[in-house]
């Protein structure tokens, strides 16, 4: 319940930042994908049915504020959670670097997905042209990931949750 509450509030803050920052920043690509960082944190440190459902819920919340394909971010954030969970289950230890790499890849995949679906359903344009902007956004997200992980760890400790991975 505490985990749900913490990530619920974190999600609202991240969505508020992600939807208002583009109005003030000169380059849209500089706005990090903070929700992916939350999903990766869940995948790295919280293994269970509830965290998986939370990743799906976070994706659905992003779908409400982005694009027109409801379910797309839900699908990809669940996938990011599952892959991070699998990686985390197989590694002896997970640190911020592993998390940052996962965030980078997750941000690239979730960023490219609306365009990919758009192209598959008949939209014009080229996916390659989006790659520089996606790389910048993924890099900014990855650079911020250790800071977000650290803030989340402090908050988890403050409310009595385990900040390290709960391995099965």
């Amino acid at each position: 319940m505490r985990l749900l509450l913490l990530f619920g509030i974190a999600l609202l803050i991240c969505l508020a930042i992600q939807t208002t920052a583009p109005l003030w920043l000169p380059v849209r690509a500089l706005v990090p994908n903070l929700v992916v960082i939350l999903a990766v944190d869940l995948g790295l440190r919280h293994h269970g049915v509830l965290p998986a459902a939370m990743a799906f819920g976070m994706g659905y919340a992003v779908d409400v504020f982005s694009g027109t394909h409801v379910g797309l971010n839900a699908l990809f954030l669940t996938m990011v959670y599952l892959l991070t969970y699998e990686v985390s289950s197989r590694l002896m230890m997970t640190n911020a670097m592993v998390g940052a790499v996962a965030v980078f890849l997750g941000a690239m995949v979730t960023g490219a997905s609306p365009a990919g679906v758009g192209l598959a359903t008949g939209a014009s344009g080229e996916l390659q042209a989006l790659i520089p902007a996606l790389l910048v956004q993924a890099a900014v997200s990855a650079a911020l990931a250790p800071l977000v992980f650290s803030i989340l760890a402090r908050l988890k400790r403050a409310i009595g949750l385990r900040a390290k991975a709960e391995r099965e």
């Binding site: 969505l15 690509a29 694009g67 939209a123 344009g125």
Partner: protein, 284 residues
Amino acid sequence: MKRTLLWRYRVVITCGALMIVSLHMLSTRLGPNAVESWSTAILFEALRPFQSSVTRLGEGGIGLVHDYLDLVNVHRENQKLRLELARVKTEKTHLAELEAENHRLAELLELRQALNLSAVAANVIGADATGVSRTLILGQGTDTGIKPGMAVVSVQGVVGKIIAASAHASRVLLIDDHNSALDAFDQRSRARGIVAGVVDDGLIMKYVGRTDDVKAGDSVITSGLDGTFPRGLLIGSVKGVGRDAPGLFLNVSIKPAVDFRRLEQVLVITQTLPQPPSGKKAKS
């Protein structure tokens, strides 16, 4: 044994089930249709106060930051005077902002009168959460009569279409999003086509015949045949016409009349437009 296996793979099984649910949602609600539901309304309402506050803070914040930087390292004797000056400057910035807002609203009012349709003004309070799709969040919703499917315009031209609305907030699909399309024609030659967004940025006009007379600089306006946008609204101007590629149609790129990044206030047309004959209804 079965129970143990289920327990061991519970995360994978849950994720798999959730991904199937996501795919089901995608397949049943694909396309630029209304993403309206109770969950959408709750999230819109939850974020709206924060988005509105940040937008307001940002408007005044730039002036305040400049004033603060000006005041760093001032002499003590002048501090009081400079603070007074800063206050006046802030007030001036605030007044200038109010004047600019007043000017924009007056322009919107003129536009509303020119359109001769019922419409409501709305503030832009947020942008798309991921950036690849192009949507905006407005600070007005169904309480002011806004509903999904309504046209959104600005003084410069066509902005987009409402795709979701809650009581106090709504979301606009911009015309340069790759899921957006509207019926349009070249104002000079009357050549018709569908203006659609491009995945990697910009606008194109599709299905313009190779024999049609379209030139760079021509204005492209709405045809009114899609039942969403009134006829004659400016979409943009022709940036280039590609005739080299093979095919039945020209490759027409459009420069949007509206700078979507600088939008602060828009007009939502709340009056239902007469529907075109079903045979000519265009994708929008």
